[in-house]
């Protein structure tokens, strides 16, 4: 710890929550990322959007350390991945929750893994669910909840250990329209209350723009960043946001770039 503190110059707190330099990754000899660079400004909710197979999920899996990279450097708040505290919300809540544990035990799992004493675990979980006004009977098993509630539980599980970054891999893609709205609102509430920077992969342009501060538009493979489109409508964003001129203009711009990329 102390040795690191000496070696890394601590001039100012890093202004990027994620910084990727010279990232290379290929699958079966096919380059997916070649010398990929990315800097994401602090305290933002950033969504990633791009054509099928461009490696959106691969990108956040590499940044979160779930899959190894071939070359390059990834830093989270200026630290290497394994020293950063991250939360990760999987696309398929059904396959990432532990069905043999109650919803409560699922949420508390990251704390127990860290060896936190039981009373403290209970405090943390209870504080979390009261902060976000969650009215679920957490003694029940995850599969007894609706899809939206299950995804909410898995978001809580990712948040309980105070992550410094939250990764979300297509968090709405397994949900129907109604529950998507519910989870999306809860996510916005969580972001506004905690300010935890988030990196979220989405497969739908409207969702990419709606919650984001920045929309990353990726190209076809080998993947590079085409444009980081800012979207600065104040929060909370409501259904009215969807019809605001800013939203329509940003969506139109993103769609245009996406179309250009598809034609290439």
């Amino acid at each position: 710890m102390t040795r690191d503190a000496v070696l890394t110059p601590t001039i100012a707190p890093p202004e990027h929550f994620i910084s990727v330099q010279g990232l290379c990754k290929s699958f079966a000899g096919q380059p997916l990322y070649e010398d990929f660079n990315l800097d994401l400004p602090n305290n933002q909710l950033v969504s990633v959007f791009g054509p099928n197979g461009c490696g959106k999920s691969t990108l956040i899996n590499m940044i979160s350390g779930l899959i190894p990279i071939d070359r390059g450097e990834i830093r989270i708040h200026g630290k290497p991945i394994r020293r950063a505290k991250i939360g990760y919300v999987f696309q398929n809540y059904r396959d990432s929750m532990f069905p043999w544990m109650s919803a409560y035990d699922n949420i508390a799992y990251p704390l127990r893994v860290k060896g936190m004493p039981e009373p403290e675990c209970r405090d943390r979980v209870e504080r979390l669910i009261s902060t976000f006004n969650i009215r679920l009977d957490l003694k029940r098993y995850p599969y007894s909840f609706s899809g939206g509630q299950q995804q909410l539980v898995s978001i809580l599980r990712a948040l309980v250990a105070d992550p410094e970054v939250l990764f979300l891999d297509e968090p709405f893609s397994a949900l129907d329209f109604e529950t998507t709205l519910f989870v999306r609102d809860k996510l916005q509430e969580i972001f506004m209350a905690t300010g935890i920077p988030m990196l979220m992969v989405v497969h739908n342009l409207e969702e990419a723009v709606f919650l984001a501060d920045t929309v990353l538009l990726l190209s076809k493979r080998p993947t590079h960043l085409v444009e980081a489109v800012p979207f600065q409508v104040p929060r909370p964003r409501t259904p009215d946001t969807l019809t605001s001129p800013e939203f329509i203009e940003t969506s139109r711009h993103c769609l245009e770039i996406f179309r250009q990329e598809m034609r290439k």
């Binding site: 350390g65 991250i86 990760y88 999987f90 396959d95 929750m97 043999w100 799992y109 990251p110 893994v113």
Partner: protein, 267 residues
């Protein structure tokens, strides 16, 4: 008719239909007994070879309540369970260990498949050579066959654990041991239970064969073969029937335990 009375009569109808549906399995049983009874009284078959179902059931009930069938029944149940518990105690840990390492599993896959494909009854003479005609010998051979099924299913359960759950545990900071005990082990349980259920079934099969083949003081297998030798057919049919009932209830028992214990299976 008012709306509410229509609704309530509908409910009664639905309720009685549901009740009737539950009785459906009995129809096959009654049909079998009916055909059996018709053949028995028709004179097509020598009555010495085929008693009526009622006479057979009578023998079964008196045999279980007053006669010598109950000790035979208990002896067979005890052997079946000893074999099963031996197999499970050794088989589940080995299966889980094999499943946790793909290389290890692949090294033993052929061996397991080979012995699983060998009829266990073919090995009885070999087991007699090693363990004699003792009670232990019958239990060991049954345990051996159950063991193979249990090992193979436990290993499969671990191998086919959902990668996403393992990944989820890892990203939450779980080390290898925690991933194993919190995820792999529980992921494998539904498949392990399939192995245990098949294990108890094969244990019963092999115990019955061993009792017939090796011989014993007490046991349903011996009872069936003895009754056949002296042409005591009523007792033979009754003993076959009680063996079937035993097998059926063992399976039911394991299904019930599974349903209670592995509540998440298939969800």
């Amino acid at each position: 008719m008012t709306a509410s009375s229509v609704r309530s009569s509908n409910r009664i109808q639905k309720f009685s239909l549901a009740r009737a549906d539950q009785l459906l399995p009995l129809i096959g049983v009654l049909a079998l007994f009916g055909v059996w009874w018709l053949i028995a009284i028709s004179g097509f078959v020598n009555p010495v070879l085929l008693p009526t179902p009622i006479a057979t059931l009578g023998t079964l009930i008196t045999g279980m309540l007053t006669g010598t069938m109950l000790p035979d029944f208990i002896a067979t149940v005890l052997r079946t369970f000893s074999a099963f518990f031996m197999a499970a105690a050794v088989g589940v840990p080995i299966g889980v260990a094999l499943g946790s390492s793909e290389k290890l599993y692949r090294s033993f896959e052929f061996l397991i498949d080979f012995f699983r494909s060998t009829p266990a009854s073919a090995l009885i003479p070999m087991f007699i050579l090693f363990f004699g005609v003792s009670d232990f010998s019958k239990v060991v051979i049954a345990a051996f066959s159950a063991f193979l099924l249990i090992v193979f299913n436990s290993a499969y359960g671990v191998i086919n654990a959902k990668q996403s759950r393992i990944l989820a545990a890892k990203v939450m900071g779980a080390n290898r041991w925690r991933v194993f005990k919190d995820v792999l082990l529980l992921e494998s349980l539904p498949q392990t239970f399939i192995g245990l259920r098949s294990g108890i079934s094969i244990s019963l099969v092999i115990v019955i064969v061993a009792e017939m083949f090796i011989g014993t003081e007490q046991g349903l297998g011996k009872r069936i073969i003895d009754a056949q030798q002296v042409l005591n057919v009523k007792d033979m049919y009754a003993s076959i029937l009680i063996t079937g009932i035993l097998g059926y209830f063992l399976n039911m028992l394991f299904l019930l335990v599974e349903k209670r214990f592995i509540h998440w299976s298939g969800k």
